[in-house]
């Protein structure tokens, strides 16, 4: 009896805090605005990131995002995509106006959480602002289709792919694209500046 009481007693504050959080969360206080018909977030894609955190594509709604696709064993082009993202980010200020960055792997077999984490460390990626994500092969195909990214797996395990960084506004509408590698594309930076944080 005593232990049951204690258990209940211990659980109470937690339950109350959960209830309070539910009441205060935006989903409860105000219905979300309808997603635009041309939003990339119409597509549902489950992710796991370099820290093992689970999320879905639509979780990026609410802030501008730079999204691209890559694979971690890529030696030539993909590091230059990371370079371009870093330089684009560096040319934007203040911190609050910077889009978050979402990189999704083409390679669900090799790019597990550990591989993504290793790449994040190797490239000195800030895990607060950057997400390196993986999903399953079906969803890789769908996301690439949604973003207009072409890719093909080769027998060697490498991927041919189009290298493009896509700028999404807070509602997931495509606001700009660039294929410039290794550098910040001035036209793309200009578009990113125009977006509301």
């Amino acid at each position: 009896m005593k232990s049951t009481f204690n258990l209940r007693f211990r659980l109470m504050p937690g339950l109350m805090a959960t209830a309070l959080l539910l009441l205060l969360s935006p989903a409860w206080s105000a219905p979300a605005k309808t997603l635009p018909a041309n939003s990339v977030y119409q597509l549902s894609v489950p992710f796991t990131d370099q820290e093992g955190r689970a999320s879905t594509l639509a979780d990026w709604r609410g802030k501008p995002v730079m999204i691209t696709m890559f694979y971690s064993s890529c030696q030539f082009v993909c590091p230059r995509i990371v370079e371009a993202l870093k330089k684009t980010e560096a040319s934007l200020s203040p911190q609050t106006a910077k889009p978050t960055i979402l990189m999704v792997s083409f390679d669900p077999i090799r790019d597990d959480t550990a591989a993504l984490k290793a790449m994040a460390d190797e490239r000195h990626i800030d895990s607060k602002r950057w997400t390196l994500a993986r999903t399953d092969a079906r969803n890789v195909r769908k996301l690439a289709a949604m973003l207009g990214i072409q890719y093909r797996e080769l027998p060697s395990g490498e991927f041919n792919h189009s290298s493009v960084i896509i700028l999404l506004d807070a509602e997931g509408r495509v606001a700009g694209k660039t294929s410039m590698l290794g550098e910040a594309d001035p036209a793309f930076v200009k578009l990113a500046r125009q977006l509301k944080p």
Partner: protein, 268 residues
């Protein structure tokens, strides 16, 4: 002959089983054909490829998906009705030839192949019947057959017949699905509609000049730029040219699809 209680019970079980199967399968009329495993020297090969592509066994819809089948799908899946499907999944001409979101137009028939469907819509239809779109290699593998042999691609008559379809004007109404089966038992691979493939966005080629100057130019990662191994095979190259020009929301009057699924109960 006599009837034991055991066989009566057996018969009752069979009746129940058949009833359950009919209730479970709303696609009882959908015919999938077993495609045995094989090898294909694809016209679309990478420099990194070391030999013919290995194609594992699968089952393919014997015919393209029809207007009637697609109508039944959108009736039970409101989100795919014209006017409801978001523009990020299907462009402005999605099902535009229908009279309304839930009715075919006058002069259209339920057994014509459905067209004006996007890649996302075709994927959703196939997923709903436990299937998916075929890959390009799967499609090319089955499409290589004529009525007699599995690989008729070197036959000038096979090529000429396909090319003659391409040269026809596309304003005439589409014929119903059906017609003569190829060596696998699959129909309408040529001569009726273009078809979506699952990896339409893997055909990293520019076989014409339309993509010149495109800012989204391809940057290849690693070796293995695609080359066209069989440049004389216009019959197949035309398909690649069309598919590589599409985006996943594209819909056209002559573009339909069929589904494939893992090999299960199909028997050759």
């Amino acid at each position: 002959m006599f009837v034991s209680s055991g066989s009566v019970r057996h018969a009752a079980w069979m009746m129940l089983l058949i009833g359950t199967m009919q209730a479970l399968s709303t696609h009882a009329a959908v015919e999938y054909v077993a495609i045995p495993p094989g090898k294909l020297a694809s016209v679309l090969a990478s420099d990194a490829d070391t030999g013919p592509a290995v194609i594992p066994a699968f089952a393919m819809r014997a015919m393209p998906v029809t207007n009637g089948e697609y109508l039944a799908f959108v009736k039970s899946h409101r989100e795919w009705q014209r006017g409801k499907a978001p523009s990020s999944f299907a462009d402005g001409t999605y099902l535009h030839s229908w009279r309304s979101s839930l009715a075919l137009n006058v002069g259209m028939s339920a057994d014509q192949p459905v067209t004006n469907v996007s890649w996302f819509a075709a994927e959703a239809f196939c997923e709903n019947e436990g299937a998916r779109l075929p890959t390009w290699l799967e499609w090319e593998h089955v499409a290589a057959a004529d009525e007699k042999v599995f690989d008729a691609r070197s036959n000038p008559a096979w090529r000429a017949r396909i090319l003659s379809w391409y040269s026809q004007t596309s304003s005439a109404p589409l014929a119903p699905v059906g017609g003569e089966a190829n060596a696998y038992g699959v129909r309408n691979m040529h001569g009726l509609v273009w078809e979506w493939v699952d990896d339409f966005n893997a055909l990293l080629v520019s076989v014409d000049s339309r993509n010149q100057g495109d800012p989204d130019k391809l940057q290849f990662c690693g070796a293995g730029a695609i080359s066209l191994k069989d440049r004389d095979n216009y019959a197949v190259l035309m398909r690649i040219a069309l598919l590589s020009s599409l985006s996943a929301t594209s819909t056209t009057n002559n573009l339909g699809f069929r589904c494939v699924r893992p090999m299960t109960a199909e028997k050759k």
